[in-house]
């Protein structure tokens, strides 16, 4: 392997927002001063103990943190039965689905809304795919009395009706996006168009570790609470660090939040799971497995596209993974080989969705069902004393209607 390894994997990005060749600030001039303001405001907030104290208070009393690290005993047994020679890792779930609003998204939104308030911004916009980021943003806007506009692809509105109604109940305006492929990437385009138009009062609350610098860094920092808690909780449960981490990846914020605090622990194997849709030779959303580096939405990263640089439409059964890109830090971690990126198909995710529900009494969202699908493959290959953590990043209530439809079609 001729990839040069840095002394630490946790020092990025550089001052221009680059992780290796990835990241950067590829935005229109109108937005550039706003992004520089945001970078400055975030740096000040990060250095302010009062900001952290206030945030910790809301994380405890409003979000409900820490989320449990749960030993998934029956799934562990299931995987041990599937292994040859009685092997099989001990599987732990990081229970992000127990957070208020039902997913990890709220960790980041809380940080950004507190920052927006600090910056004196009075109007919040967001994009959403599955609706979980939209719901989290609508929730915190309700909590702090801020007007909230959520851009959501018309196709996603169709398959995530329940979340649309939740956002409306919370007082947010959901604006259907009918441009392009009518999914998450187009929602992000329209949110950026809104931001360019309403520069004075508006804060753009991005839902994942993508977009122009400082978003990938800032969202990562807010999500690192997942990995930081996991370190402590595993120490308490087993007296040592885990041996492997598994998380699903659309943009990659739940994965980055779990992975980042462990990047410098050489003994910890890390697996990201992209959505392989109908399979990597068909329609899918696996940017690393099936894409190449390009520039979209403010950053350079792996993207799905054609030979002319036109962005391709992603496909996944999970609306939250249905994005043709991935956060730039993931692209970098892939190139330097610190994280292994795998993929799970729609069918594998559906199987894991049902299995997890029946074995553990936990209905995962379709997004982490992709991660669980790979746990079912990885865990049986590991020894019995191997500690594996999978991030159950959201709960599956929102997916029940579409899962029922898929299963009905198959029956």
């Amino acid at each position: 392997m001729n990839v040069r390894q840095p002394n630490t994997f946790r020092s990025g990005p550089d001052e221009r927002g680059h992780f290796g060749i990835f990241g950067g600030r590829f935005v229109a001039e109108t937005l550039m001063p706003l992004i520089l303001d945001l970078e400055k405001a975030y740096a000040e907030a990060k250095a302010d103990p009062e900001f952290k104290r206030e945030m910790d208070g809301y994380l405890t009393h409003y979000v409900g943190r820490p989320s449990p690290l749960y030993f998934a005993e029956r799934m562990t047994e299931y995987c041990r039965k599937a292994s040859t020679g009685g092997a099989g890792a001990k599987i732990y779930f990081k229970r992000e689905e127990l957070n208020h609003t039902g997913a990890h998204k709220v960790n980041n939104v809380l940080g950004q809304i507190m920052l927006a308030r600090r910056m004196g911004k009075t109007r919040i916009i967001a994009e959403t795919g599955a609706g979980m980021h939209g719901v989290a943003t609508a929730t915190l806007c309700a909590r702090f009395g801020l007007p909230c506009i959520v851009y959501m692809g018309a196709v996603d509105i169709e398959r995530q009706q329940q979340n649309v109604f939740r956002m409306q109940m919370l007082g947010a305006e959901v604006r259907p996006v009918t441009s392009g492929s009518k999914t998450l990437k187009d929602a992000m385009n329209d949110a950026l168009r809104d931001w360019v138009t309403n520069v004075a009062d508006t804060f753009y609350c991005i839902g994942t570790v993508a977009g122009p610098h400082p978003y990938p860094m800032m969202v990562r920092d807010f999500q690192c609470v997942i990995g930081n808690e996991t370190r402590e909780q595993m120490q308490q449960a087993e007296g040592r660090l885990p041996d492997s981490l598994v998380a699903c990846i659309g943009g990659g914020s739940n994965a980055m939040g779990l992975f980042h605090p462990f990047l410098d622990d050489a003994g910890v194997e890390i697996f990201g799971v992209e959505a392989a849709g109908h399979g990597l030779t068909g329609l899918h959303a696996a940017s690393i497995a099936g894409g190449r580096p390009g520039v979209l939405h403010g950053n350079r990263t792996y993207l799905l596209m054609d030979d002319d640089g036109q962005i391709a439409e992603a496909h996944s059964i999970s609306a939250g993974l249905d994005y043709p890109g991935i956060g730039p830090e993931h692209s970098w971690l892939h190139e330097i080989k610190r994280v292994q990126y795998l993929s799970a198909t729609d069918d594998e995710a559906l199987h894991a969705f049902q299995l997890c529900s029946k074995l553990e009494g936990i209905i995962p969202a379709l997004e982490p069902a992709h991660a669980i699908a790979k746990v079912l493959e990885l865990a049986p290959q590991k020894p019995k004393d191997h500690l594996m953590v999978v991030n159950v990043s959201g709960r599956g209530d929102k997916d029940l209607a579409s899962v029922a439809q898929h299963l009905g079609k198959k029956a």
Binding site: R16, E29, G180, V196, V199, H297, D308, G309
Partner: protein, 279 residues
């Protein structure tokens, strides 16, 4: 380095009038129709031609330019064809500057070095790449200047005096002042605010200042022409194409005339401006 853009603005200065910069998306509604339209632009009164390089995700564009890009892509437009279109135009017109405008990804995927060489050879004079601010100058701006192409930067209402020098540092040809904070084809600009913004930019640079975003009518063009060196019109022209198409989205016998008619009216409005101001 003096380019067709420099020569054209020098000529406009001599004539004592502002220029008309027309924007159309290359390959809209299809390649053949687009070639015919672009070739007719100078005769109708366009002084500088901007050609949009279609992209699936045009984040700074409004519905009109988005639709034009999708029409061009659906008809099979590619970067190779956009450069071919420029070559065809250049064979019959060696004076009218052509500026390619768009987003970075199609250029990045084509390959920066190859793109600059092919664009220069085809007869392209300048580039406007919306998602390359000065912070990313190493990507394309510096190589483009070395290749002899103008790199035209957008200055916006959010570009304050502190930031202007950085925005202007590697800009050449002209400065494109975006008259509103917003997307293309949205609100109409306020001429009073634009006048003070242009004056502000001119305190920092000797380059000509073109003003665009939201200019649709000959009357608006005349008003902007009185306070700037050139007026950019895009969405209104793109809409003229859109409206002229048949139900299948194909060009009709009225398509060419719809564009040239509007360009002539805009040019007349602009040519009237300085005379009005001078009298």
């Amino acid at each position: 380095m003096s380019t067709r853009i420099d020569a054209r603005f020098a000529k406009l200065h001599q004539e004592g009038r502002a220029g008309l910069v027309t924007f159309l998306t290359a390959g809209d509604p299809d390649y053949a129709a687009s070639v015919a339209i672009v070739k007719a632009l100078p005769g109708a009164g366009a002084d500088v031609i901007e050609l949009g390089m279609p992209f699936t995700d045009p984040m700074a564009d409004g519905p009109s330019v988005q639709a034009a890009g999708l029409r061009a892509l659906a008809a099979g437009q590619t970067m190779v064809k956009t450069l071919a279109l420029v070559r065809e135009f250049r064979a019959g017109d060696d004076a009218t500057p052509i500026v390619l405008m768009g987003y970075y990804n199609p250029i990045y995927i084509y390959g920066v070095t190859r793109f600059l060489a092919d664009a220069k050879a085809a007869g392209v004079d300048g580039l406007i790449v919306v998602d390359l601010p000065p912070e990313e100058d190493d990507e394309l701006c510096i190589p483009a200047l070395k290749a002899g192409l103008n790199f035209i930067r957008l200055a916006t209402p959010t570009t304050d005096d502190k930031r202007l020098p950085a925005v202007l540092a590697n800009t050449s040809g002209f400065v494109y002042y975006v008259s509103i904070a917003g997307i293309t084809g949205a609100a109409a600009p306020d001429a009073g605010k634009v006048a003070s913004a242009v004056a502000r930019i001119k305190r920092h640079t000797a380059l000509p200042v073109a003003v665009g975003f939201g200019v649709r009518t000959p009357e608006q063009a005349r008003a902007i022409a009185q306070i700037s060196d050139a007026v950019v019109v895009g969405s209104a022209l793109v809409d003229a194409i859109g409206i002229s198409l048949d139900q299948a989205g194909k060009a009709t016998t009225g398509t060419l005339a719809a564009v040239t008619g509007l360009v002539s009216a805009l040019a007349a409005g602009i040519r009237g401006a300085r005379r009005e101001a001078a009298e």
